[in-house]
């Protein structure tokens, strides 16, 4: 048994890759192709769950696959924090796959084989990022993720989409270059790039160099979409909704913030960051992003774009948590990754359902949708309320930790940021809910043909919303437990 | 000043001649418009290099490197550069042949062998 566990990380990544090849081969038989996607998603989830007990017991699963270049082998290591990301990604991939199948078939989209192929490779890359044992491996998967999501972003192939795709690629590739530079600099400073709980950079260079290095990393993780380098994310909204869901919740942005947390906890270490004053730097960026992005969101009428700015704002909560450099703050940051993922994917799936069933993308057109699509609208509202940080959804958990962290870290002003942002969140979400539930459409008959979306879409929406509720009631299992282990790891620097 | 310069020139005048020839060849190769004249320039350029080789092989008072009654003690010029240049001449001839046949083809195709006119003709196509 132990032997199998040892190679499970590699198997987990191999499953979607094999599935991707199969998808290409059986591409013309839609049902078989979709069967492959679903089977792979289930298999991958199982293989991750199989590793869960071991990780929960505090152990780590390491596997070195190949020697690569000086500075790091191609190696995987499953630890508690990586597990959080992997678990979120795999659960959401499964649900998103069902949803995507429903969505793509309902809209009769073209090039579906390419679409599912890219999704499968992208999830492999996301899991790879979660399980990377060192910066180089992380970089490899990070770049693969960039490239393979491009066809997804430009899927509709309109000139507008191509333009957005170019923007997407430009931001992310430039970011990748910065990440590579940062990785190489790290290697030159310390002679290693392996993630070490509590960091390994301390004392390896002058303060200035380390500060520059941190900045390089920050730009490198452009996928975290902090302002002012967030431009690609709203642009990428031209993509089909399952892709937006994928970008926002399952993989891409999560990979970005995951990377920053990894850097903070496992490369720099909280003590070093504090002594370099990086916490304040990060706090300024995060606060600025949270408030500004919320304001942007207020002005958007296109639902998906408003959600995009909401994502930009929410991601910076995670950065904010990191910037506090306290246990509670870090816990809040890590907890916000899964919590935000589940709620945001609900929102996007619901937005996609509005497009499929009602053909509506603008908020002002959505008057009275509640009467025709009650379940979808309810789920949307629930998730929106959760994002604002109200019970009984999971959003409040991370916010409480963040608030605690702000106090604990001696930066009460951040508390103010959190409160202002909660108000702004409410300000841009409640009007949507109000429009959909209480307002009447201008033309009553325009909604006659509208029904709930097909079950393949509706069920995932309900499931993700329910999970968001479940996390509120049972926060420990498994996310908070995992996060606790991760926090213990980086604060005490215990290497089991 | 000038005297020492002249002295330097005459002491190594064979090399200077090679260099002057080479420059003439290069000039023709680059500045002449007529493709055939370019090839003539190329030939002058190559010949200059051949002469350079031959002249540094020279040993004062040396004879041809053939077996003489004195045996190998005889003073003879270095034969190796001659051999090398024999090869280089063959190469030069081949290059010239290829170049001329290309010019023939270009003339057949475009009806010009003047570089500027050729470029215009190419652009017109």
């Amino acid at each position: 048994m132990a032997d199998i566990t040892g190679i499970l990380p590699a198997i987990t990544i191999a499953i979607p890759l094999v599935a991707a090849v199969l998808i290409l081969i059986v591409g013309r038989y839609e049902n078989i192709r979709e069967g492959v996607t679903i089977a792979a998603a289930i298999a991958m989830l199982c293989s991750i769950l199989a590793m869960l007990p071991e990780v929960l017991s505090g152990a780590r699963i390491s596997i070195s696959l190949l020697p690569m270049v000086p500075g790091g082998d191609f190696a995987l290591r499953v630890d508690a924090f990586g597990m959080v990301f992997a678990l979120v990604a795999s659960i959401l991939w499964l649900l998103n796959s069902f949803y995507a199948i429903g969505y793509m078939r309902a809209l009769k989209e073209h090039a579906q084989t390419r679409f599912f192929f890219c999704l499968a490779v992208a999830i492999a890359a996301a899991i790879g990022i979660a399980f990377s044992a060192n910066l180089l491996t992380l970089f490899v998967f990070y770049e693969i993720l960039t490239i393979i999501t491009y066809p997804l972003v430009v899927h509709v192939e309109t000139p507008e989409a191509m333009k957005a795709g170019r923007k997407y690629l430009a931001y992310l590739l430039v970011g990748g270059i910065f990440l590579l530079a940062a990785t190489i600099l790290t290697y030159l400073l310390t002679g290693m790039t392996d993630f070490v709980p509590g960091g390994f950079l301390a004392g390896s260079g002058s303060d200035l160099i380390l500060r520059i290095l941190f900045l390089l990393f920050m730009v490198g993780f452009v996928k975290a979409a902090w302002m002012p380098i967030h431009g690609w994310l709203p642009a990428a909204m031209v993509a089909p909704t399952p892709v937006s869901a994928f970008l926002h919740a399952v993989a891409v942005v999560t990979a970005g913030v995951f990377g920053i947390v990894r850097i903070a906890g496992w490369v720099f270490g909280m003590d070093l960051m504090a002594s370099l004053g990086l916490g304040i730097f990060l706090a300024v960026i995060a606060s600025f992003t949270i408030i500004t992005a919320s304001l942007f969101a207020l002005t958007e009428d296109n639902l998906k774009r408003r959600l995009a700015y909401s994502t930009v704002s929410q991601l910076s909560y995670i950065l904010l948590g990191v910037s506090m450099l306290s246990i509670a703050g870090m816990t809040g940051a890590m907890a916000h990754i899964p919590i935000h993922a589940f709620m945001k994917i609900t929102l996007f799936m619901a937005a996609g359902a509005f497009i499929v069933s009602a053909g509506k993308e603008s908020i002002s057109d959505m008057k009275g949708l509640f009467r025709k699509m009650p379940v979808t609208v309810l789920m949307f509202s629930a998730a929106a309320i959760g994002i604002c940080g109200l019970p009984p959804l999971a959003g409040i958990i991370s916010k409480i930790y963040l608030a605690l962290g702000a106090v604990e870290g001696g930066m009460p002003i951040l508390l103010l940021v959190i409160i202002i942002s909660a108000v702004l969140n409410a300000a841009y979400f409640f009007p949507i809910i109000y429009t959909m539930i209480f307002e009447h459409p201008d033309d009553e008959r325009s909604l006659d043909a509208v029904t709930e979306p097909p079950l393949t879409m509706l069920v995932p929406i309900v499931l993700t919303a329910s999970i968001s509720v479940l996390i509120f009631f049972f926060p420990s299992m498994p996310f908070m437990d995992l996060i606790e282990i991760a926090i213990a790891e980086i604060t005490q620097s215990v290497i089991p | 000043m000038i005297e020492s310069f002249i002295e330097l020139f005459f002491a190594r005048y064979n090399y200077w001649m090679a260099i002057i020839l080479m420059l003439i060849g290069l000039y023709a190769l680059i500045a002449k418009q007529n493709l055939v004249k370019k090839i003539i320039g190329l030939n002058i350029f190559q010949t200059a290099i051949f002469l350079f080789y031959i002249s540094f092989a020279e040993v004062k008072g040396g004879t041809a490197p053939i077996y003489l009654p004195q045996g190998i003690d005889a003073l003879y010029v270095n034969p190796l550069p001659h051999v090398l240049i024999l090869t280089a001449i063959v190469v030069g001839v081949s290059v010239t042949a290829v170049a001329l046949s290309l010019i023939v083809r270009i003339y057949e195709e475009y009806g010009v062998i003047d570089e500027d006119e050729l470029m215009q003709a190419v652009r017109r196509r």
Partner: protein, 496 residues
């Protein structure tokens, strides 16, 4: 056993005889020409692999032609450096020959095919000779054999413009050869020998002499023209664009790489690092020109509207990468440089094969006419995407690995501003590669004016796909390559 001992000379002698045989047999019946070429090149490939393995196990092989020991006789030397290059170029040559059959049938007039293969064989043989000879004048002779064959082959295309391209190449190539000949003459004047090993031993005594300096300059300029080192690249774009596809592949991979090899050999094995760094410091200048070449080549490539011409300018940029290694001249950077010699040969070979395939099927390589070509030629375009990713330097392809070593080497030498240029160069590569990808995959697929177009024949597809996959395999298993590259670099830097 005895045959193995004589393998170095057989590597040259058999193909020269074979080229005569092709001529004679082809006279009798045209159909004999191709099989003989194929068999001969495959023999050369096998022999080169055997020699490489032998060198890696037993050390340098020295073979005295006709039993005459140097300095009287000519010596063939195969050490860990040119053993590696030899195997690499023969791999590419073998792939090209397989690819050539159908492509040549289409692009070259029937009655020229026999002489085409004669010259093709001579070109390959001349390049092999350049690689394994230990005598510097012999190097010149082989250089001219291959050059004359190349001039003729370039003009074999049906396009009349190829005559002009060939003529221009001939003029510049002859100037380059003239300079090389002069340089060799000066070296002989200074030392009295033409054997490279002896040159290396005798030269240090006369490092200060003007003769040696001028020899160095003549050789440097001569080879810079030969490898199309910016700004001496003027012959290259036309020559690559106008020649038949098979010839383009051969000269852009095998010939370009052998010329680079010869330059490395002369700079490091004849003049040694001590000379190029201390006595006649050119590395700084080379480095500067290399960065200019990287950027200028890539920018010019972006400006092109013809696929082949774009790839040609890309070659100028990529040559810059290899020369960059030469300019940095430390262990890691040179490892990257040698890796890039192989890597660039493989990926550029693949890209030109795709271009040739497109010309084979569609008769054009104008980018504007290739919209949506991925729909009709999916395999070719997938190969392009993979090799293109390698060109950009997306991990885990070979292109990434070599650039990683180069950047690491530059950082280690404290040349980080130059390293930044390297990184920018790969972004620019992304732009021109993406230009094609965008057109091929996401171009307007609604005007299906070339629905009759389909994938090319298997004999063209197979080598192309092999090379594309090799980009990936070499990247993933780069450690295996390093076993050959590492000792080669140590040898170059003057170690044991």
């Amino acid at each position: 056993m005895t045959v193995i001992n004589h393998l170095p000379v057989l590597l040259i002698a058999i193909p020269i005889l074979a080229s005569l045989l092709i001529f004679a047999a082809g006279w009798y019946d045209r159909r004999f020409a191709y099989p003989i070429t194929l068999i001969t090149v495959l023999f050369q490939f096998t022999a080169s692999v055997i020699l490489l393995l032998q060198v890696m196990q037993e050390g340098t092989i020295r073979y005295h032609l006709g039993g005459w020991a140097p300095p009287l006789g000519i010596e063939l030397v195969i050490d860990s450096f040119n053993g590696f290059i030899l195997a690499a170029i023969m791999l590419l040559a073998a792939a090209t020959v397989v690819y050539a059959r159908r492509s040549v049938e289409k692009e070259i007039e029937q009655e020229k095919i026999v002489s085409f293969y004669v010259l093709f064989q001579l070109l390959v043989t001349g390049l092999v000779g350049m690689t394994i000879t230990g005598d510097i004048f012999n190097l010149y002779v082989f250089l001219e054999i291959s050059s004359i064959a190349a001039y003729t082959l370039i003009s074999a295309s049906r396009k009349p413009h190829s005559y002009v391209a060939s003529f221009n190449y001939l003029v510049l190539g002859s100037i380059s050869a003239g300079f090389i000949l002069l340089g060799i003459g000066n070296l002989y004047v200074a030392t009295g020998t033409l054997n490279m090993a002896e040159l290396a031993a005798i030269l240090p005594a006369s490092y200060g002499l003007a003769t040696v300096h001028s020899a160095f300059l003549f050789l440097m300029i001569g080879f810079s023209i030969k490898i199309a080192f910016f700004p001496l690249h003027l012959w290259l774009p036309d020559a690559y664009t106008e020649s038949p596809s098979a010839v383009t592949i051969l000269i852009s991979t095998v010939m370009a790489k052998v010329s680079v090899y010869a330059l490395f050999r002369i700079l490091f094995s004849v003049f040694t690092t001590a000379y190029i760094i201390d006595s006649f410091p050119v590395t700084g200048f080379i480095l500067l020109m290399a960065t200019v070449a990287i950027v200028a080549g890539a920018v010019l490539a972006i400006a092109q509207d013809d696929l082949k011409r774009m790839l040609a300018y890309s070659s100028i940029s990529q040559i810059g990468y290899i020369m960059f290694a030469l300019g940095v001249a430390n262990q890691i950077a040179l490892e990257g440089g040698l890796l890039h010699i192989l890597g660039h040969a493989v990926m550029k070979g693949c890209l030109f094969m795709v271009a040739g395939m497109i010309i084979y099927r569609m008769g054009t390589s104008k980018l504007s006419e290739l919209k949506g070509v991925a729909k009709t030629m999916p395999i070719s375009c997938a190969a392009f995407a993979l090799a293109g990713a390698s060109m950009i330097g997306i991990p885990p392809t070979i292109g990434f690995m070599s650039k990683y070593y180069l950047v690491l080497g530059a950082f280690e030498a404290g040349l980080w501003p130059y390293a930044v240029v390297l990184l920018i160069g790969s972004l620019l590569a992304a732009v021109y590669i993406w230009k094609f990808i965008e057109i091929a995959y996401f171009g307007d697929h609604h005007d299906n004016h070339h629905t009759s177009v389909r994938e090319g024949p298997l004999s063209m597809l197979a080598p192309m796909v092999c090379l594309a996959v090799l980009c990936l395999i070499f990247g993933v298993f780069v450690e295996v390559l390093m076993e050959a590259v590492g000792p080669a670099v140590i040898l170059l830097l003057g170690g044991v």
